[in-house]
């Protein structure tokens, strides 16, 4: 996968307008289950030209109890230029997300984006497969929207600890995806079962590309299957970030490019990378 150069040297232009720091208004911020919340923002058109896999850098509010300092990178869960809407699905885990959870309808929220290089869907990829677990669903959900728009077939394999925290099943189904669920509780989420499910998909319908997010286990599994069947894949990765724009060099990860280990910025060259070059961590 080649790096996408987002500006050429020497243009000397005024702000070129691909990324904006904007004030949005909270439409709703509701619990999805015991762990996750869905935040829906009223956002200006300038930030709604998004691609699946891109992210926003969110300036979480400072409250009496929580004082987050840096912005928090968060994958886009949904975007709609028609509705003027931006959505984030997040797990409340730390200071930033606890502060985010306090937002209610009408509150303002400063966001910076859209940022990074998203997933690609090449013209000749008809049968798409995604493998998602936990909050990885949030990152992969916009792929379903894009697959529907491009009239591609999508199989979404959704994994979770138990049925209660299996999210977005209806969302994927509504967008025309075929959904296969596996859970730890049912004993169906182990790697060998996943391998069998994917192998069956390849044998029965063919798979042109595989997408995943975040998990080491799933990365290795898809790398193996991809190498065996010569199927390309993409993975969205995470790393601690400061600026989110590529300036600070905080969010690097190692990649294997034809035998050479290189370091790339997750915020700028990613967060989506070729699955064959991603390295387990």
């Amino acid at each position: 996968m080649s790096l996408i150069q987002r500006h050429s040297a020497g243009e000397g232009s005024p702000a070129n307008g691909t990324t904006h720091e904007v004030e949005t208004t909270v439409k709703s911020n509701t619990p999805v289950n015991g762990e996750y919340r869905l935040l829906t923002l009223d956002a200006p058109q300038s930030v709604l030209d998004c691609k699946p896999g891109q992210f926003f850098h969110i300036l979480c509010p400072v409250t009496m109890a929580e004082q987050p300092y840096l912005r928090r990178p968060m994958s886009i869960y949904g975007y709609s230029a028609e509705k003027g809407e931006l959505q984030f699905l997040y797990k409340v885990t730390g200071e930033g997300t606890r502060a985010l959870a306090t937002l209610t309808k009408g509150d303002k929220l400063n966001v910076l984006g859209p940022l990074g290089v998203g997933f690609t869907i090449q013209d000749d990829w008809q049968n798409l497969l995604l493998l998602a677990r936990g909050v990885g669903l949030a990152t992969l959900a916009p792929l379903a929207q894009e697959a529907q728009r491009l009239n591609r077939k999508l199989v979404a394999i959704c994994s979770a600890r138990n049925e209660d925290v299996l999210m977005s099943i209806d969302h994927f189904k509504a967008l025309g995806a075929e959904v296969i669920t596996v859970t730890d509780a049912q004993g169906t989420s182990d790697l060998e079962n996943l391998r069998e499910i994917i192998e069956n998909q390849i044998a029965d319908h063919g798979v042109d590309v595989m997408y995943t997010c975040g998990s080491n286990r799933m990365l290795k599994l898809l790398q193996e299957i991809g190498a065996k069947h010569d199927i390309p894949g993409e993975i969205a990765l995470e790393q601690q970030m400061a600026c989110g724009l590529g300036m600070c060099q905080c969010c690097v990860r190692s990649f294997n490019r034809n035998g050479t280990i290189t370091q790339e910025r997750v915020c700028r060259e990613g967060p989506v990378f070729g699955i064959e070059e991603a390295m387990a961590w």
Binding site: R6, H7, A9, G10, E11, G12, S13, P14, A15, N16, G17, T18, T19, H20, E21, L59, Q67, P68, Y69, L70, R71, N110, L112, Q239, Q240, M241, A242, C243, G244, L245, G246, M247, C248, Q249, C250, C251, V252, R253, Q263, R268
Partner: protein, 314 residues
């Protein structure tokens, strides 16, 4: 109309606000108009390619952040071929930040980047990450003198020495830099710090320690900028924890002739342009016709010299 221009030695800047090295790159042009800045200051480069430090390279502490990036660098050739042409499309002075592990290497890269299109060289003699023990040239007057003398003979461009808050000899180091030929002082770099995750008991940075930046650094860097401005004849550029227009005014009153804004850009990428507008409004409402009327206007005449030059609290 107020006069926002400021002079750093032979160099005149349209306004006193510029980015701090390491918090700025070509990438920011996606968010703001780089024409509006007083100068462009690039991330420190080294002669050779460097990978940088292990991750995590950043963590936050209350109201500030720690970083340990370790100066990843694509090398001087890549910089000359790609970065300098990018900035030369703007009519804004380009300040190139350099670093090296030895005085000779430092002089060599200083010579290499002394090319047309570069207005000044910021010499990062204070990065706390680059040498094994975390010590940097700017820790001591003797090492500051040694490296600055070599740098001075390597280039005719203005040299801005970036000082370290990790030294106990601020004034001695500042004087050493001036005497060895520095044209300005940038005061200051980050303060060596640490944070530990109490659940895992692991240091929060991959490199164990890193540099503190953000609002909690400001009183320290401001104190240093004041001490330096009192001690040297060359211009002082204030740097450390600036996030509001009041912070800028405070540095100017302390004696800085320009300021660098760093970590605040990570929080609000547009902050430098916002602050510029606010500074202009401030000067107008205060009936201050020229920025230079503010510089060094601190009313410390009642204090004894020994207070000004003390290194520890009484």
């Amino acid at each position: 109309m107020v006069d926002l221009t400021t002079k750093i030695g032979s160099l005149t800047l349209a306004n006193p606000i510029m980015p701090a090295s390491g918090t700025f790159s070509e990438d920011l042009s996606e968010v703001l108009d780089l024409h509006q800045l007083g100068a462009h200051v690039t991330k420190t480069i080294t002669a050779e390619k460097r990978g940088g430090n292990p991750t995590p390279r950043v963590c936050e502490v209350r109201g500030s952040m720690l970083n340990s990036i370790g100066i990843p660098s694509k090398g001087v050739q890549h910089f000359i071929e790609n970065t300098i042409p990018f900035y030369n499309a703007y009519d804004v002075p380009l300040v190139v930040s350099i670093s090296a592990n030895s005085a000779d290497e430092f002089a060599r890269i200083c010579e290499q980047v002394s090319v047309p299109g570069v207005a000044a060289i910021e010499v990062n003699i204070s990065c706390p990450n680059i040498e094994e023990d975390g010590k940097a040239f700017a820790m001591r007057p003797s090492t500051t003198t040694a490296v600055m003398e070599k740098l001075r003979s390597a280039s005719d461009l203005p040299l801005w020495a970036k000082l370290s808050p990790n030294t106990g000899e601020t004034i001695e180091v500042a004087l050493a830099a001036e005497e060895a030929g520095a044209d300005a002082l940038v005061v200051a770099n980050t303060l060596l710090s640490m944070a530990i995750d109490i659940h895992t008991r692991k240091p929060k940075l991959g490199n164990l320690m890193g540099g503190l930046s953000g609002p909690s650094l400001k009183p320290i860097a401001l104190r240093m900028a004041y001490q330096c401005a009192k001690s040297v004849q060359i211009p002082v550029i204030g740097c450390g924890g600036i996030s509001t227009v009041e912070d800028i005014v405070e540095y100017l009153i302390a004696g800085a002739t320009a300021v660098q804004v760093g970590t605040a850009t990570f929080i609000n990428p547009n902050i430098m342009v916002t602050l510029l507008g606010q500074l202009e409004s401030y000067l107008e409402t205060q009936n201050i016709a020229s920025l230079s009327d503010l510089v060094g206007s601190v009313r410390d005449e009642d204090a004894a010299d020994s207070v000004v030059f003390m290194e520890t609290a009484p």
